[in-house]
């Protein structure tokens, strides 16, 4: 756990970049610092590994004051990823990744084996290992940056706008990669971004900072969306807070109807004006019975209520087709079921 206890940073020119900040980044969770440019996010992050020293207050890493630890030693135990990746242009990818193991005095072979393992882990072709950073795309360099930060298996990872410089598609895949990795590794991650959507997507908890380095709100994404602390946070969150909040409600609350599906063989049914979903032999959705109209699907229990609602809006019937994880139909969510789930979600 990383604890900020009334931390203030005043730069030599008198500018206060972080003002009396207190917050806790839980072990094994992603804590996101978000806010407009210049609000002190980078300063806050760098006070953790002492690239910047706090002027007042203290920062505790699992209970011990970071100032009691010699900076190089402290930093070798904390992974760090930055926007431009910061790879060493003169070193091959494999040696870039092995940087901290080398610093820790590992044998060269062991360090390189570990680097190769990590390259694979972050989804990079092992062939890349012998290349130089210039020969990689921005997204690939960023993956190498993540691999490098993880090389010595540090419990803590600091990430400063790591995905801001890549295009949106690559960014999305990097974000998903990070969530997948985190599910395996359970690091204590402090993630800085100016993008509120990224914050909400990645954060277990999100700290919204305002210019002047003041904490505006520190809460789970869902709470942030439903109960913004003030106008600044509300404005920063932007539009569609209600809809976006549904991303955090599970679709498992939806009551499904199983009597609205028919197998293709038993073609006839009680079709007065009900929409019936035709299901193939192996359980896959085929289409509406006797109606050549589009239908939308979601994965029941795994997808959010927002995804279910989206599926319903794509169906001419206004009903969402619920699938299990292998793509077989488990039922249909009717408008009534959606309505009930929505009003329940609105109540909190």
């Amino acid at each position: 756990m990383i604890t900020f206890d009334s931390v203030t940073k005043r730069y030599p020119d008198g500018f206060v970049a972080v003002d009396d900040l207190s917050l806790e980044a839980e072990t094994g969770q992603i804590t996101v610092l978000v806010g407009p440019s210049g609000c002190g996010k980078t300063t806050t992050l760098r006070m953790i590994n002492r690239m910047i020293d706090a002027t007042e207050g203290q920062i505790l890493l699992d209970g011990s004051d970071v100032r009691q630890i010699d900076p190089p030693t402290l930093r070798r135990g904390i992974g760090y990823v930055i926007q431009q990746a910061g790879l060493f242009p003169h070193r091959k990818i494999v040696d870039n990744v092995a940087t901290v193991p080398y610093l820790l005095g590992w044998e060269k072979k062991k360090a390189r084996d570990r680097a190769m393992e990590l390259l694979e882990r972050v989804g990079l072709d092992p062939k890349m290992a012998q290349r130089y950073p210039f020969q990689l795309s921005g997204g690939q360099q960023q993956r190498v940056g993540v691999a490098r930060a993880l090389a010595a298996d540090p419990p803590v990872l600091l990430m400063d706008e790591p995905f801001s410089a890549v295009d949106p598609i690559v960014r999305t895949s990097l974000q998903e990669e990070l969530l997948r990795l985190q599910a395996e590794l359970n690091k204590t991650i402090v993630f800085v971004t100016h993008d509120i959507d990224e914050a909400i997507k990645l954060g277990d908890k999100v700290a919204v900072l305002r210019v002047g380095g003041k904490l505006a709100q520190f809460a789970a994404p869902k709470t942030l969306l439903s109960e913004p602390a003030d106008d600044f946070v509300r404005e920063f969150l932007g539009r569609d807070r209600g809809i976006r909040r549904l991303s955090f409600v599970s679709s498992s609350y939806l009551k499904l109807r199983t009597d609205l599906t028919v197998t293709s063989s038993s073609a006839a049914g009680p079709s007065d004006d009900a929409w019936l979903m035709v299901v193939s032999e192996d359980g896959k959705p085929v289409g509406w019975l006797d109606r050549d109209e589009p239908f939308g699907t979601y994965v029941h229990g795994k997808d959010s209520l927002r995804a279910a609602l989206d599926a319903a809006l794509l169906s001419s019937s206004g009903q969402a087709v619920a699938l299990d994880e292998s793509g077989r139909v488990v039922g249909v969510a009717t408008r009534k079921a959606l309505d009930e789930a929505l009003s329940e979600a609105a109540d909190g």
């Binding site: 690239m51 904390i78 760090y80 926007q83 003169h90 290349r131 130089y132 490098r148």
Partner: protein, 225 residues
């Protein structure tokens, strides 16, 4: 010059190639190599700490480069005059000014080389737990190498060419062949001297270039991409 003299006489080269005389071509070549190489090596050895000090303490750079430039602007002859009382008509009288010329090019090259290290690379080295010395040796200097070696190429070639000026005090290496030639209206030595100096410069430049290739395989990757 009534009787047709050929511009170049091989026989002269053959008879002067390796005699006991201090002015044999081989001896002059040796003197030339020493007098041009020593300033380059000394210049490199001194410019590294000096350049790094100028990077570390920025305020030093301005006065240092001002002094270097003034020395660089001084013609060689008065410099020799200044030095002769101390060093006499020796090789040192040539080596010392050439070392200062080398510094005038190499100190800025070291400063620019360190400036060519991208800030995010330096920051990430700090963040990963490099100590300052290790960061310098393993990250900053290797990245500065291309810029420093570009300076070194200039210095090597100009040093080889400038040694000839030492002929003014009888210490010009192959340059001594010029005075000989102009005094006697006999051009063979001059032509031999020019050819050998150019060849020497090409070899020197080639060696630095080879060192650069060897030290910076990553630059080729960069050029290719």
């Amino acid at each position: 010059m009534d009787d047709e003299q050929p511009l170049f006489r091989w026989s002269w080269v053959e008879s002067n190639w390796n005699s006991d005389s201090p002015n044999s071509i081989v001896n002059l070549l040796e003197a030339h190599v020493v007098m041009s190489l020593v300033p380059v090596v000394l210049g490199l050895l001194v410019s590294l700490p000096l350049g790094l000090a100028c990077v570390r303490w920025r305020f030093l750079y301005q006065p240092t480069s001002a002094v270097m430039n003034v020395i660089y602007a001084l013609p060689s002859l008065p410099l020799f005059m200044l030095l002769i009382p101390q060093t006499g008509l020796t090789r040192m009288t040539v080596i010392i000014p050439l070392t200062f010329y080398a510094l005038a090019v190499l100190v800025p090259a070291v400063v620019d080389g360190m400036g060519s290290v991208p800030d995010h690379v330096r920051q990430s080295a700090v963040a990963m737990g490099f100590t300052p010395l290790r960061r310098l040796v393993q990250v900053e200097l290797p990245i500065a190498v291309p810029v420093v070696l570009a300076g070194l190429r200039v210095v090597t070639v100009s040093s080889i060419s400038l040694v000839s000026v030492g002929a003014l005090i009888g210490q010009g290496g192959l340059g001594n062949l010029f005075t000989d030639a102009f005094q006697r209206d006999f051009y063979t030595p001059a032509i031999a001297g020019i050819v050998l100096i150019v060849l020497l410069a090409l070899v020197g430049d080639g060696i630095v270039l080879a060192a650069q290739r060897l030290l910076t395989p990553w630059m080729r990757a960069r050029r290719a991409s």
